[in-house]
């Protein structure tokens, strides 16, 4: 398959600190590529390198066939980028921001009005075109930022935590737009901390301390990362049970989910033992992505 983004041993160091460590990624066209990992794991650094605004310390990468280090400027007309921090002009209106980016991407005058109209419709910004950005809520600002970054209809879109700090409704709205773009053929690389969003990705890469520790579809991750059987245990005082259960020989993992405990057992036949030991309900469950990532993160630290 022809990939739109590939990296080989991509590395970025800041002084003695290695933010991104020999990363190998390949992103297929039209994918929603979820890029997950704890804070400070190197997600933003990777995206910045892929956008051509941060020089790699070692390794190489290609975006749309252009080399990151030597052809960064050739990449720029074809990509859209939303940084973690809101970075549009507060003292311009919604329309003026879109118009500015339309100009910066050299969209011909004749098409501009139409294109901006499309963006306003796509990002659900209608009705507030003449409002100053400073007066918008975070959700609106993020949709405007998205609108600005896709005004030139890029073939790849890099989104760095686009939904952090916005309401659940706004998050849903935002992801629907992303899905729509992907359906129309745009490749989207998105970082997020929300599992429901990760579930909607066609491919997930999980990185920790700058290294890629898992990369697959959400389904495959769920089925393959966890070997054994995951059960849900309902106990009173789950915090105290957590420590006790972790020490049992047949328990591989134990984590707290609200008032419930998720316990990963070596084998199905240990369920009865656990039921007797805790004297409570033990039911097998389908692992969620969250379980997967907890396991991945623990395994990585161990």
């Amino acid at each position: 398959m022809e990939y739109v983004v590939t990296t080989r041993e991509l590395t970025r160091r800041f002084g003695n600190f290695t933010a991104v460590d020999r990363l190998n990624l390949s992103i297929a066209p039209g994918e929603i590529y979820g890029f997950l990992g704890p804070n400070g794991s190197g997600k933003s650094t990777t995206i910045r390198m892929l956008c051509g605004i941060l020089e790699p310390s070692a390794g190489s990468g290609q975006v749309l066939g252009y080399d990151l280090a030597s052809e960064a400027e050739k990449i720029k007309p074809h990509i859209g980028y939303m940084s973690q921090k809101f970075s549009l002009y507060d003292d311009l209106t919604v329309y003026e921001n879109l118009d500015f980016y339309a100009g910066v991407y050299s969209i011909p005058y004749r098409e501009r009005r139409h294109r901006i109209g499309e963006m306003i419709e796509l990002a659900s910004l209608s009705g507030r075109e003449k409002d100053l950005v400073a007066h918008l809520s975070v959700g609106w600002k993020q949709r405007l930022a998205l609108g600005c970054s896709i005004v030139a209809k890029p073939s790849i879109l890099f989104l760095d935590e686009p939904t952090s700090g916005i309401s659940p409704t706004s998050r849903k709205m935002f992801f629907t737009i992303i899905q729509r773009l992907a359906n129309e053929g745009t490749t989207v690389m998105v970082t997020t901390h929300f599992m429901d969003e990760a579930e909607r990705c066609s491919n997930i890469a999980f990185i920790s301390e700058g290294r890629l520790i898992a990369n697959d579809t959400p389904d495959q991750l769920r089925n393959q990362v966890l070997s054994g059987v995951l059960v849900e245990v309902e106990v009173a005082e789950p915090m105290q049970w957590l420590a006790k259960l972790e020490n049992l020989p047949y328990v591989k993992e134990c984590s707290l989910h609200g008032s419930l405990l998720h316990v990963l057992l070596e084998h199905e036949n240990k369920m009865a033992d656990l039921r007797v030991y805790t004297n409570s309900e033990v039911n097998p469950i389908t692992p969620s992505l969250e379980d997967v990532f907890i396991t991945l993160a623990k395994r990585d630290r161990g």
Binding site: F14, R48, C51, G52, I53, L54, E55, A72, E73, K76, P77, I79, G80, Y81, S83, K85, F86, S87, L88, Y89, D90, D91, L92, E96, D99, F100, Y101, A102, G103, V104, Y105, S106, P108, Y109, C148
Partner: protein, 369 residues
């Protein structure tokens, strides 16, 4: 081109909404000129003076009158003892003490050299220079008069006729107003541009721009042109205030002044852009701007004549754009000269512009960190 226009239009929109900046652009020349145009007087007159006259004679009174008639000395006190003279000077009530000895009149009448002591508080050199020079020339003039009376028909052996050109009445404002204009433009251009670009870096909008296809020079040009327009706006305000309030004549061609000013504006912008390249935040940009501004004010010839500077400092003043612009603006406004006489200065400003902008454009990479 479309990209430059986009940046240009965006800058104009932002400026239009920034009421404080707009206010500053107009108020700065207005207030500064009114304040400094009146306040800065290099010629010190009306120096408070105390007289301790032990002679109490027509002869001593005549000299005292000569001192007050000059306009430089205002006799604010007369005293009967030396101690009070020193006290008044120590306290700062007076800057000058004139002391006549008891036998002053006798000496004058007998044809001896009569001594008058003039004490000057020289803590402020500008005041004391003025007092000392005037006191000396009063002494000379009076001596000549006495000699002439004695000899009868008397012709002075030398007659030096001084004609002060360009500003015969020695009006300080004529000289100061164009210079203040230069200071205001440097200040605005250096600070506004440096802050303008650093602000984009601080807010993250620069990072967003780096991901777009815009080229460094397109961004620079788009950001700079609005500031050139602001610079001209300020100069117009300043020239109007100068002409209306201070009656500063503009003897040369106004068109030429505007044309040559462009090079000064671009050189100042060059400094601003360079600062914005180095500074990480607005605070640093501000500090660096001040670092540039102070020498501009002190060494350019605005405050102190460059002729009086030691060779090294004078050489140092050659790396300040304002130094050259002062020659240009004073030349056009006061002397009425034109480009033909100002080629070296204009060339210098052009060199500043090319070097500063060149460094900035080369240094400005579309990369972070």
């Amino acid at each position: 081109m479309s990209r430059i226009l986009a940046v240009l239009y965006k800058e104009f929109l932002q400026m239009k909404r920034d009421k404080l900046t707009i206010g500053l652009i107009f108020m700065l020349p207005l207030v500064q000129l009114l304040l400094f145009g009146y306040a800065i007087q290099t010629e010190v007159k009306h120096i408070p003076t105390v007289v301790f006259d032990q002679s109490l004679s027509p002869e001593s009174r005549e000299i005292t009158r000569a001192f007050t008639a000059s306009g430089y000395f205002d006799v604010v006190a007369a005293t009967g003892n030396y101690q009070q003279v020193t006290q008044l000077i120590d306290r700062g009530t007076v800057k000058v003490g004139i002391i006549f000895p008891p036998d002053y009149a006798k000496q004058v009448r007998s044809g001896d050299t009569a001594a008058i002591q003039v004490l000057v508080d020289a803590t402020d050199s500008m005041v004391s220079n003025s007092a000392i020079a005037t006191a000396n020339s009063i002494g000379l003039l009076k001596s000549q008069q006495v000699l002439a009376e004695k000899v009868g028909q008397f012709k002075a052996p030398y007659d030096i006729r001084v004609r002060p050109w360009y500003n015969p009445d020695g009006i300080t404002a004529y000289y100061m107003v164009p210079a203040i204009l230069g200071i205001i433009v440097t200040m605005t251009m250096v600070m506004m541009t440096s802050m303008g670009i650093v602000r984009e870096r601080e807010r993250g909008t620069l990072e967003q721009l780096m991901v777009t296809p815009i080229k460094s020079y397109e961004l620079m040009i788009g950001k700079i042109i609005p500031y050139i327009a602001l610079g001209y706006l300020q100069i117009t305000v300043a020239l109007l205030v100068g002409a209306i309030v201070f009656d500063v004549p503009i003897r040369g061609s106004l068109l030429e002044l505007y044309l040559l000013t462009l090079f000064f504006i671009t050189a100042s912008l060059g400094i601003g852009v360079l600062i914005s390249n180095i500074a990480k935040n607005q605070m640093q940009a501000m500090q660096m701007s001040f670092f540039i501004l102070l020498p501009s004010i002190l060494l350019s010839g605005f405050m102190f004549p460059r002729e009086a500077m030691p060779v090294f400092i004078k050489a140092l003043s050659n790396i300040i754009p304002l130094t050259f612009y002062l020659t240009i603006i004073r030349g056009i406004v006061l002397k009425g000269i034109g480009f033909a006489y100002l080629v070296p200065q204009v060339t210098a400003l052009l060199v500043f512009t090319v070097i500063l902008m060149g460094i900035s454009i080369m240094r400005f990479k579309k990369k972070i960190a």
